[in-house]
Every structure is written in C-alpha cells, then in structure tokens.
C-alpha cells in the first residue's frame, strides 16, 4: 500500500472529532515547520509601528545595555 493510499484509508476511518483534532495537529506542525513570517496589524498597531520606526532613538538605551554586556559565547 502506498503512503497516499494509507493516508486515504486513515482519513476514511477518522470520526469527525478525530478529523478535527487531526487538522489542529497538522496546523500546529505546519507552524512549527515554517514559522509565520507575515504580521498583520490593525490601524492602531500599524500606526504605533510607524511611530516606532520614526523614533529609533527611543530604542537605543536598551540596545546599548545589550551591546555593553560582557560576552559568554566564544570567550
């Protein structure tokens, strides 16, 4: 029996509840396999994102804290 035939047989044997669960598992596995790379924002968050891009200096103190730490890796 080919993999495709085995899958068809398996799907035929699933109850509705099991099929629903299987879809959740597949969706979860897919998200693990390929992390979502598109982020969709509503108007409020989109505006906030644009404001952040236009005010980069506000992010610099935290980044300096990161850059100024003593290193562990490769040391």
């Amino acid at each position: 029996m080919t993999t495709k035939e085995r899958l068809h047989k398996l799907v035929d044997e699933l109850s509705d509840v099991e099929a629903e669960e299987a879809l959740h598992v597949i969706a979860s596995r897919r998200e693990h396999a390929e992390p979502p790379s598109s982020i969709v924002l509503d108007e409020f968050h989109a505006q906030r994102f644009l404001e952040a891009l236009d005010s980069p200096e506000a992010f610099e103190p935290g980044l300096r804290r990161l850059a100024d730490r003593p290193r562990v890796i490769g040391g």
Binding site: E34, P35, S37, S38, I39, L41, L50, P56, R65, G75
Partner: protein, 170 residues
C-alpha cells in the same frame, strides 16, 4: 562549565541536537525536527552555539518577513496603510539549553542575531527586527534590551533597524 563556540549555521553532521532541552517543548521540537528542514528549503536559517563536543547549548532562527496593514490593498493611496507592507527580519526562535541558562547566553544570542540582521540589511531592505516571544518571561527578556511591543497576540516585539545600526555598526 565548558566554553561555547561562536555561533555558526546549524550543521547536522557536527551539531548534536537530540538531547536539547530548554524547558519549552516547542522550541526543543523546532531544533530537533524542523530547523534542518528550514535550512534545506531556504525558509529559515538557524545558528547555534555549541560545546566543544558539538552539543548545542543555544540557538536562534532568522526568517525574512513583512509587516502588513490589515486594510492595505494594491490601490490604497492614503493613510498609514500606504506605507505597508514593511520588510522585517524575524527572530523566529531563540532558546538556551536548561543546563546553560543563567549565564547570559540568551543575551549573547540576541546580540549575535541582531548583528547578522544588520549585515543582511546591507544586501536587502530590512526596516525592523521582530521577535515572537513564547511567553511573558521571554517578552520581558526582549523588553529589557529595548524591544517594544508590536502586537499582543502572539506576543510580538520589535526594534527599528536604524537603532540597531546606530548602536552596533562599527
């Protein structure tokens, strides 16, 4: 504790991932089952720091992405929506083995990720580095180093590339 090698691309022939446990099973599963697939399919790049015996002590994964406005359409001509989509680089995963936690390795990995994103931004347009924090503790970790919330679900935080360049560029 042994020294950790500088980060390098995940290489299944040299890096041991089977026993990697960071306390968050989805991040373990990603490294052990999917990170290699991402490399082969050119959908994600995973970088690891390993002990001298090749055991992975921590890793992060970078993915190209974009931020979209829910109302943006090809013919949109006004308002904030016209400035979207915006290209970003997503730090899609970042994890440190439980046995190595508390040493500052996570912060080193984050800094390393930002340096690589900065280098990539010389070749392709990237306006921000974005992270999906797996939980509130992770979100606080990123916030400590300047990342600001972008969206609540999932917990998403960002820093503008301009700020990264100002602080990290030689």
């Amino acid at each position: 504790m042994s020294a950790l090698h500088a980060t390098e691309p995940l290489d299944r022939r040299r890096h041991q991932t089977a026993g990697f446990t960071c306390g968050r099973p989805p991040l373990d599963a990603w490294l052990q089952r999917y990170a290699g697939q991402g490399q082969r399919r050119d959908t994600a790049r995973t970088f690891v720091t390993a002990r001298p015996d090749g055991t992975v002590a921590g890793y992060y994964t970078l993915v190209a992405g974009q931020v979209e406005h829910q109302d943006a359409t090809p013919d949109v001509s006004a308002g904030a929506a016209q400035r979207f989509p915006i290209p970003i680089c997503l730090i899609a995963r970042l994890a440190v083995a439980e046995t190595e936690q508390g040493r500052g390795i996570g912060a080193d990995l984050l800094l390393d990720a930002l340096r690589r994103i900065l280098a990539a931004s010389q070749l392709v347009g990237i306006r921000a580095a974005v992270v999906h924090a797996i939980d509130d503790d992770a979100a606080r970790f990123y916030a400590r180093f300047g990342f600001a919330p972008l969206a609540e679900a999932p917990r998403t935080l960002m820093v503008p590339l301009h700020a990264v360049r100002t602080v990290l560029a030689p």
